[in-house]
Symmetry: C2
Subunit: 250 residues, 2 copies
Amino acid sequence: MANPTAAMLVIGDEVLSGRTREANAHHLSVKLTEMGVDLREIRVIGDDAPTIARHVNALRAEVDHLFTSGGIGPTHDDMTADGVAQAFGARLAVREDARAILEAYYADPGALNAARLRMARIPDGAALILNPLSQAPGFTLGNVHVMAGVPAIFAAMLEGLLPTIDGGAPVLAWSFRAAMPEGELAGPLTALAAAHPDVGFGSYPFHRGGLGSTLVARSSDRVALERAAEALRAMLASLGCTGAAETPPA
Amino acid sequence: MANPTAAMLVIGDEVLSGRTREANAHHLSVKLTEMGVDLREIRVIGDDAPTIARHVNALRAEVDHLFTSGGIGPTHDDMTADGVAQAFGARLAVREDARAILEAYYADPGALNAARLRMARIPDGAALILNPLSQAPGFTLGNVHVMAGVPAIFAAMLEGLLPTIDGGAPVLAWSFRAAMPEGELAGPLTALAAAHPDVGFGSYPFHRGGLGSTLVARSSDRVALERAAEALRAMLASLGCTGAAETPPA
């Protein structure tokens, strides 16, 4: 059975301009890999509601889960809820459960001004994603999970969300850090990959302490993976490349 | 006159799986912003030729320049040249100028094996992008610039490429780091943004040393930008928020 699939949509002019170094995509990719969800694509786009709606509709049709980050704060450039509501043709309005969360958070009743109330706007039909840090919630609408861009808040929201999502067979990996350039391993590695169709093989050059290659074998099938690791070890030995640092599956 | 536009396509299973933390997108975004090229979108996809071809065709039609990174090494999982050639319907074969570069690099003639010769495969009609580090070249085909994924090589290729591309009016930015939460600035900021249509305003929360907001005004028009900065300063003063750290345009 194939693993569930996912995509991510990062929303923020500040990422495209280089002002902000994006971090949530890497965090999400590690978490999804651990639980056997196959992340197919990441997109970064700007803070514009029609653009957001277009990409939400393109991506949600292609995968089981679409995760978004960014653009759900109180300021005029936070357009994600508008874009997602537009994508679904859903009404977007302040919802009482979201307002109650914010009312409880802001001790001074005057503090919940019009700008902050923007963060209680939830599309009709959505379920809230709780925010244990600054309280303003995200939401799930259909297969789209809308979360904050601030990394600590994104991570906290995700921690609550992921246990509600079905995972797949986690992908296990064996990794070999070999002191031999990719160009000398590539031929035998291609043959080996062809002989082990249930295992994915990757090769990544490194330059620290001389030119070398990290060879990675990945599979959800532990038996097939161990067979591939054995074959990789034999291949390196036959090339006279000994002493590769091996990292077994976690 | 509108600035030239760009998109980036990052190609690599290792980024989607979380094995590798992507760094080239941020580097490119900073460089493009400096030269007044408007980066509209970044996509990260896996090492699969038909998928690469599909995204290359979607993005190259939307922007003036498409930059790719990753997937041009010697191993079986390096599929970018195949995908780009497929997108253009161009023949992909070892080209003599690219082969000559590799022959000069590998002192031992036996070292230029079949795997390494894959890196001399260039689509018909493409111009080479030189690689001053490990020599294996990238290429430009139409408005698509194909570069390596290793960050040092990507940066070196880009350094040679960018001077050949027309820039636009660089976007200048004033930034104010204010000790006031976004929710209290958002209302006045919305009004200010409406009054300065030639300037883009962004707001980014921070949590270090208490809750605060970085307000950023951006424009290619220096006069309009200075007017907006003056108005932002007055707005902060009227809210009793003094002592914001100001960063003028570079």
